[in-house]
């Protein structure tokens, strides 16, 4: 992983994290919006402008790749690089969580 990717994506936005998390399965943008809504009990509603921008940026940076198009919706999947970023981020969040538990008891 080059320095640019690390700088831009670690730590990453909540939107970015959920996109990578969801794209371990093939999915389109709106599918991710629905999945995240369900995962967070409706707390997080990802917006289309944010989604569209993040997906095109992540595709350009090689974190996700375009698989096929279905009814005018682009379907994506995570790449190896994307999985590496997701792992890094997951470790960071786990440490954060452990530290919160430790400090607050």
């Amino acid at each position: 992983m080059d320095a640019h990717i690390r700088k831009v994506y670690v730590p990453m936005t909540e939107t970015g994290f959920y996109i990578l998390l969801c794209l371990r399965e093939e999915m389109h943008g709106y599918g991710i919006v629905q999945k995240v809504e369900q995962l967070t009990d409706g707390d997080i509603i990802l917006s289309p402008g944010t989604m569209y921008g993040s997906l095109s940026k992540m595709e350009k940076d090689g974190l996700i790749c375009f698989v096929r198009e279905e009814e005018k919706r682009k379907i994506y999947h995570i790449t190896e690089l994307g999985q590496e970023v997701l792992d890094l981020e997951t470790k960071r969040i786990e440490r954060l969580y452990r530290n919160v538990k430790e400090v607050l008891g």
């Binding site: 936005t13 990802l46 402008g49 944010t50």
Partner: protein
Amino acid sequence: MSGFGEMKKEFKVFLITDYEEEGEYLSRMHRRGWKFVNVTLPGIYFFEKCTPEDVVYQLDYNEEGLNHKEEYIQMFQDCGWEYLMEYVGYTYFRKPRAEMKGDEKIFCDDESRLEMLRRVFQARMFPILIIMFCLIIPQFIGLMDEQRGDRWILLILYSVLLALYTYICAKFGVHYWNLKNRLKS
């Protein structure tokens, strides 16, 4: 129903940095019973009389989206945003508040708001800066030394242009730093 189908025109100037204000203006008009229909140069907004409703209007600036228009618009439609039109690079969307869960916008974090500002800057501000530095400022300086009789008219014209460009640049800067600072805190 009587009164419906009635149209109204309004002239309004929004600078390229004022996309949020423009959306708020369209929402305000809709709440007063004037539904946005079209906008044409140099800033004439067309409205149609309608039942007053709380509708959120939002502008996006995304050249890549416009190059892949079908899937771009599909994404917004899936999320309940009605695609309206494009005007000088901006795409207009609206969604009734009654269909929203909470306070919805087309961007849900400051990072993506900043990204959009960057896209506007690269596509629209950058050319303006080039024009300013390569044309207007040299012309302005050149005119100061000349003794032509009409130079005052040109000097005034260039001063107005320079003031306008400086103002737009400043607005851009303020907007940018505000978002940046919000991200840091």
